[in-house]
């Protein structure tokens, strides 16, 4: 006997993600999910973002890694609340992990919540966490061909950060080709050239992000 189901395979994740999104909206928190390869500079980008925006906004961070508390400790050292999620081998974060982490934070006191996803260019793209925007970071040493190899992550991102821009002269990175391919995959996404550890180019990214934070605060119930 045939039984029709017609249900999303990730329905459990998506339902919880919608609950997260509602929770964030009620508290007027803007949530950004940073996705990148291991070593592209996710944590450095977060630290640069904190330095740029901490005077204006109350910021908290959720760190996703397979193991260790290294990243959460780096963030906490700057006096910003950081919750570490260890996925224990899983290659991406899911909405129930975010929910458990969020339950340990006081959302009412937070304007901007930054989620650092597990270092991976594939898996995080299929999972809604309840965030308002996914942002993708590519670092120059990874090469300009990555949008050809991992197109999906460039398509689901609302903005792209080109990090380690200061190393452009050392690597054979064709910036115009990179921008052209990203533009084809995702015509509306801005590309921010940045050197997070030096603070170069952080302003444009911080302005984009703060516009979004303001919009979220304005929409809070």
């Amino acid at each position: 006997m045939r039984v029709d189901i017609a249900k999303g395979i990730l329905e459990k994740n998506d339902t919880l993600a919608e609950e997260n999104r509602r929770l964030f909206a009620e508290s007027g928190v803007f949530v950004v999910d940073l996705m990148a390869s291991p070593g592209a500079g996710k944590t450095s980008t977060i630290l640069a973002t904190i330095a740029a925006l901490r005077d204006r906004y109350s910021i908290a961070v959720i760190e996703g890694d397979i193991a260790s508390r290294v990243d959460a400790e780096k963030i906490s050292a700057h006096g910003v609340p950081a919750v570490q999620i260890n996925t224990g081998g899983a290659c991406h974060l899911e909405s129930d992990m975010i929910r458990r982490a969020v339950d340990t934070l006081d959302l009412a006191t937070i304007d901007l919540l930054i989620i650092e996803n597990v270092g991976n260019l594939v898996c995080p793209t299929d999972f809604d966490l309840g965030e308002h925007a996914k942002v993708m970071i590519l670092s120059v040493p990874e090469g300009h061909d990555k949008p050809y190899k991992y197109p999906n992550i460039f398509q689901v991102a609302e903005a792209v950060i080109l990090n380690k821009y200061d190393t452009m002269g050392v690597f054979d990175f064709d910036e115009s080709e990179f921008r052209e391919v990203v533009g084809r995959l995702n015509p509306t996404a801005p590309v921010f050239a940045m050197a997070a550890t030096k603070g170069d180019g952080v302003d444009a990214w911080a302005t984009w992000l703060s516009d979004r934070v303001e919009a979220a605060k304005g929409g809070a119930a």
Binding site: V3, I5, A6
Partner: protein
């Protein structure tokens, strides 16, 4: 890469529906996967072989239908199929397009014995 987690969702949904229908076994499970997701059939089938053990789906087959990407142009309303890389409207050249299908991850139906 994350087919195991996806497949876990498939087996759970199938078993839940089968139990509700009072099934003694699941013969087959049909799913639809959009070509713009990161799901690949071979690891999905591998995960299914592992995860079906000890469930009502122990003897079941998993049939996967891939669905091609299709978008509609926001400027001229043309509908067109495309690959990942050229979601540009073939009629008017606009990049402002709305994806209609291609990111599905859906369990469609199961076949059961009562």
């Amino acid at each position: 890469m994350h087919e195991m987690g996806i497949c876990d969702g498939i087996v759970r949904a199938a078993v839940e529906a089968a139990e509700q229908a009072g099934a003694t076994r699941i013969n087959s499970i049909e799913v639809t996967v959009g070509e713009l997701t990161e799901i690949v059939e071979e690891p999905l089938q591998f995960a299914f072989d592992v995860l079906r053990k000890g469930t009502l789906a122990e003897e079941a087959t998993l049939s996967v239908s891939f669905i091609a990407a299709k978008s509609q142009c926001a400027d001229c309303s043309a509908e067109f199929g495309h690959s990942r890389f050229d979601a540009k409207c073939p009629e008017c050249g606009s990049f402002m397009v709305q994806l209609l299908q291609g990111r599905e991850l859906r369990i469609d139906a199961i076949d059961i014995d009562e």
